[in-house]
Amino acid sequence: MDPRLEIIDERLKEIKRVIAITGGKGGIGKSLVASTLALTLSKSNNYRVGLLDLDFSGPSTDLILGIEGIYPKEEKGIIPPEIYGIRFMSVIYYAQDNPTPLRGIDVSNAIIELLAITRWGRLDFLIVDMPPGIGDATLDTIRLMKKTQFLTLTTPSIVALGTVKKMLAMLKELNLPIIGIIENMRTAKSPSIEGQINGLDVPYLGAIDFDENLENSIGDKNRLLETAFAQRLREILLRAPQFKLNIVSGL
């Protein structure tokens, strides 16, 4: 018997909502959205927020938020360190800058271990940054974090949309809660995907334009929050009843 599986529910007990940022394809902005969402939630309503990077082969939320030099504390398990008001957990604490060449079974084992030993404490939101697709991390999120809600991302590209549709079909078949779909990197020339997802019965939350200044703001959370990308994401969140975001000045 694997003892770790029995303790995971207990570890997640005091977390009100777990939100996984998913999408079928790579490079569509999942990590940017996950990081910015965590920042925005923690700043706007004083929500208690955690951020879990489950992309073990390409962790990037630490790079996006400019997180460096922090390390979890050991106390009857692992306590994620808090930075910018976010409790942050990632494989980088252990792998450092080294590549993590893990096969599926190893990824799964590492996810189980991390979930079994991490003591998040009380959180309003745990945001989970996912690797692309419906591989190990997604399957384990579904299997182990039963209260996860899925926030799905796509770009206007047929290629991204085609894949995300498959992911949504899977989530729907399993009857899992889908918060909605956000269209990222829209350009003036992109046809809107809104019409194309009509038949899916998934809320279309809105579109974020391609933001040329975004890349320059990576690594600096203040500049990141000032980008058109972050402002637009916040507007979408304000409109989405699922986040109960208050309008607070100073953002």
């Binding site: 018997m1 694997d2 003892p3 770790r4 599986l5 029995e6 303790i7 207990e10 050991e74 106390e75 009857k76 398990g77 692992i78 494989v91 604490y93 252990y94 792998a95 450092q96 080294n98 590549p99 993590t100 060449p101 893990l102 096969r103 190893d106 990824v107 084992n109 590492a110 271990e113 991390l114 079994a116 030993i117 003591r119």
Partner: protein, 137 residues
């Protein structure tokens, strides 16, 4: 004290099993402790004792048997088999500590001694495992 988290997990597992099998009392828990995770046996045993304490009803007479298992690796590329004992000299303290938390991190820091690949399998001795639970209905 990451040992504590694992001790809690073992006790949860025992209690769940007792419930499922309708055991009034658990008399024995057999635990296998894989070498790769480098659990401090003393801390683990005392954490177990403390976690068990509030579970008087079911666990007060439970005997805990802990068996250590050597870690063995097998290279997926060249099929070479080697042991953790042979590999520990590749690790500094920080790396070893990281493997303690997440044994899969060994793929970052260990290599097949024969072909230098990181694509190996831990065929034995990865981490903590509940081998069996005995009890009375």
């Amino acid at each position: 004290m990451h040992e504590w988290a694992l001790a809690e997990a073992v006790v949860s597992t025992a209690l769940k099993a007792a419930e499922k099998e309708r055991l009034q009392e658990i008399t024995k828990i057999k635990i296998v402790m894989g070498e790769l995770q480098q659990i401090d046996a003393e801390i683990f045993a005392s954490a177990l004792k403390e976690v068990i304490l509030p579970q008087k009803e079911t666990l007060k007479n439970a005997k805990i048997e802990i068996k250590a298992e050597k870690a063995v690796f097998k290279c997926r590329v060249c099929q070479h088999i080697w042991t953790f004992a042979e590999a520990t000299n590749q690790l500094n303290e920080e790396e070893s500590e990281s493997i303690h938390f997440i044994p899969e991190i060994s793929h970052c820091y260990l290599r097949c001694p024969q072909c230098k690949s990181s694509d190996f399998e831990v065929i034995k001795g990865r981490g903590v495992w509940v081998d069996s639970i005995e009890g009375e209905q």
